[in-house]
Symmetry: C2
Amino acid sequence: MAKVRVDAFSISIDGFGAGPRQSLEHPLGAGGPALHDWAWTTRTFQQRIHGRDGGATGADDDFAARSFENVGAWILGRNMFGPIRGPWPDESWKGWWGDNPPFHVPVFVLTHHPRQTIVMQGGTTFQFVTDGIHAALEQAAASAGGKDVRIGGGVATVHQYLHARLIDEMHIAISPTLLGSGERLFEGINLVALGYHCTERVATPNATHLVLVR
Amino acid sequence: MAKVRVDAFSISIDGFGAGPRQSLEHPLGAGGPALHDWAWTTRTFQQRIHGRDGGATGADDDFAARSFENVGAWILGRNMFGPIRGPWPDESWKGWWGDNPPFHVPVFVLTHHPRQTIVMQGGTTFQFVTDGIHAALEQAAASAGGKDVRIGGGVATVHQYLHARLIDEMHIAISPTLLGSGERLFEGINLVALGYHCTERVATPNATHLVLVR
């Protein structure tokens, strides 16, 4: 049965999923890129994000590769899609990822501000959902062709789906960095009350990978 | 120079340093003992806590052993000393650890309720400090004979010393367990603003050990 998943979600030692002060120059917030040091150099990320051959294999890459497997649609919070807040000033912003984004499937963006669907290269579409997380999940599941729906983030979006008890599985990577402030992934979340337990733990030199399942 | 240290402080994946509902039967709160699975079986803990030979060596034991090295005095919050709240009903409670506690040095217990010093076997004394964290640290440092002062916990006590910028070094162990609720070690704490960075990370099959230094 298709799942709703969070994958390759990196947090700091102090529990933050993004740094403070996201901006055009700092999509992951101040200090945020270090969260993903385990991922950048993997073969999967080199191919998916940079279109390059090579890159590291091993346990980090195994998790990176799994994060894209059997994903039929994505859901992103608006801040993960871009730095713009409030109404869309024009149609020019098309995500952080260039003309050929790494998704290659339909991506549903949660927003309060309607916008026309954007068709990108490589099979990615950005579709804007203004009627909430349940509607977005319904549309994503319908578009996923029986595959899983991946909740990409950010933290606020994951919180909403966690509180709604809609996430089946989460892969978290704890990176050896401190962010100090920002958005904490588990703030206000009782994972035990929500029924999660840890089914897998793999520690590499770069991160501690944990799989939480309910 | 002598340091003020936190050592072998275990937290869950979701950031809790103790489980909810501490009681006489559950000194570490519900689910809390699993936090310390990495430590219980080490040679150091077997000797220190149980007075037994044997136990596991390796990186977990190295951190366990370091946690006791060069410690000249401890500071504990009152809840780490025992389950009693409010005024001491009598003199009968002498800690969780039996007649020969694993400290073997002076231990200063933060409390609002004065009590006579308790002299235990093996060099441990419990001295009760009613005039706050700074007074406790002064007394502990004076008793430590040039060695370090270890802040044993719990979370609320560590928070107070962190906010007062009095902790030089922390060894944290992230255990592969979820607690769901309880006391979060880094709740309301900005480790970056306090000047900490991560100087060491060792992941074992049982825990991810991190050393934070300012």
